[in-house]
């Protein structure tokens, strides 16, 4: 169960290497999803390691992705209540927060928008699944 997300990470990193900028940030979404579904402490480590893997691929900002992904994972862990309650404005604030994180990673706007477009239904579906 712990290995599967890492296998997914490698798959998504390979995809992101080959798909260019017109591709949503699926690794960020994976980190959020894992933080929502998985155990809390491994989720933080997962965020950090995912960020570090991306940093190794682009060493100019080494540490930036690991920092942002760790914070993202922690926020997703802490804000799980919002996912459960599905309060619309809080939910939208959260999406906005993830957009800012995506933009902080120096992603182009198109990529950030695509990420959000995938992030919204994913989080919604996950929160629905969790409340079942």
């Amino acid at each position: 169960m712990l290995i599967l997300p890492y296998l997914l990470t490698y798959l998504l990193i390979t995809l992101s290497f080959n798909m260019g900028q017109s591709f949503p940030d699926l690794i960020l979404i994976l980190v959020v999803a894992y933080a929502m579904l998985g155990p809390p402490i491994p989720a933080l480590g997962f965020g950090f390691i995912n960020g570090l893997l991306l940093d190794l691929a682009n060493p100019v900002g080494l540490g930036l992705n690991s920092l942002l992904f760790t914070i993202t994972a922690f926020l997703a862990l802490r804000l799980n209540k919002i996912f459960f309650q599905r309060i619309v404005y809080q939910y939208l604030l959260l999406i906005l927060l993830f957009t800012i994180i995506s933009l902080l990673r120096a992603d182009p706007l198109l990529k950030a928008i695509l990420t959000i477009l995938v992030m919204i239904p994913t989080i919604y579906l996950l929160s629905w699944k969790l409340t079942e």
Partner: protein, 246 residues
């Protein structure tokens, strides 16, 4: 003075630890960052880098193959044209445009092809579509980004042809049942398996393109002409790209 809020939860402790680690990494000088990444990315990212390398290799090979295929098609068309008019040798290379078949007609799948090239790339109505020196069809409609090619298997397709051995001309006409050759003189000796090429007379297609081989030769009722049936060399159901002769 308020007492400091103690960090109770393990998550928070780990978060702070990871943030400190990330900040240390972030504050490293650039040469150290590159050294660190060089040392570890080859090991940690090996699967992703290996797959990416193979994909880039395949992409480059594909590009080279496409270029070779285009050159082969050019030479085949040139060769076909020179075969018919050996005296008029020319070094002029035909202008070919690679086009991928993006859709086929739903019923037969071999009568109409929609290709991914159109007006913007210089495709015109009536332009011949070729593949490995063979005539595939002609463009019948063009929009800005795509075009429709009616193949030689499409009923009512017509082109002037020539029997390669004897040089006798005729007209190829496709019917729903078969590809027939009309107006081919009765006294000309012709055998099943003989090659038929385009003649280039009053036609959209240049001379020398391969059309097919004779399948059946029948005497017929006509006093002057034979009844011939033809089969194309190329399996139109299997090709995924073709060239438009501009």
């Amino acid at each position: 003075m308020k007492p400091a809020i103690p960090i109770r939860r393990t998550e928070e402790k780990i978060l702070i630890l990871l943030i400190i680690l990330s900040t240390i990494l972030l504050s490293l000088p650039s040469p150290v960052k590159f050294e660190f990444a060089n040392r570890f990315s080859g090991i940690v990212l090996y699967p992703a880098l290996w797959v990416t390398g193979r994909l880039i290799e395949l992409r480059l090979l594909n590009r080279d193959l496409a270029e070779l295929d285009r050159k082969l098609n050019q030479v085949l068309i040139q060769f076909g044209s020179e075969r018919l008019k050996a005296s008029e040798r020319t070094d002029e290379k035909p202008d070919l445009l690679l086009a991928y078949i993006v859709m086929r007609d739903p019923k037969s799948r071999v009568r109409f092809f929609t290709i991914n090239r159109g007006d913007k790339e210089g495709v015109r109505v009536g332009a011949p579509a070729v593949y490995q020196g063979n005539l595939i069809g002609r463009v019948i409609t063009v929009s800005s980004n795509q075009a429709v090619v009616a193949t030689i298997l499409n009923p009512n397709f017509r082109v002037s042809i020539q029997h390669l051995k004897s040089g006798t001309n005729g007209i190829l006409e496709t019917t729903p049942q078969s590809i027939r050759i009309k107006y081919f003189l009765r006294d000309v000796p012709i055998q099943p398996g003989d090659t038929i090429v385009t003649s280039g007379f009053g036609s959209f297609a240049p001379p020398g393109l391969l059309v097919g081989r004779i399948d059946r030769v029948e005497e017929g009722k006509d006093l002057f002409f034979q009844e011939l049936t033809l089969l194309p060399f190329i399996n139109l159901g299997s090709i995924n790209h073709l060239y438009i002769l501009r």
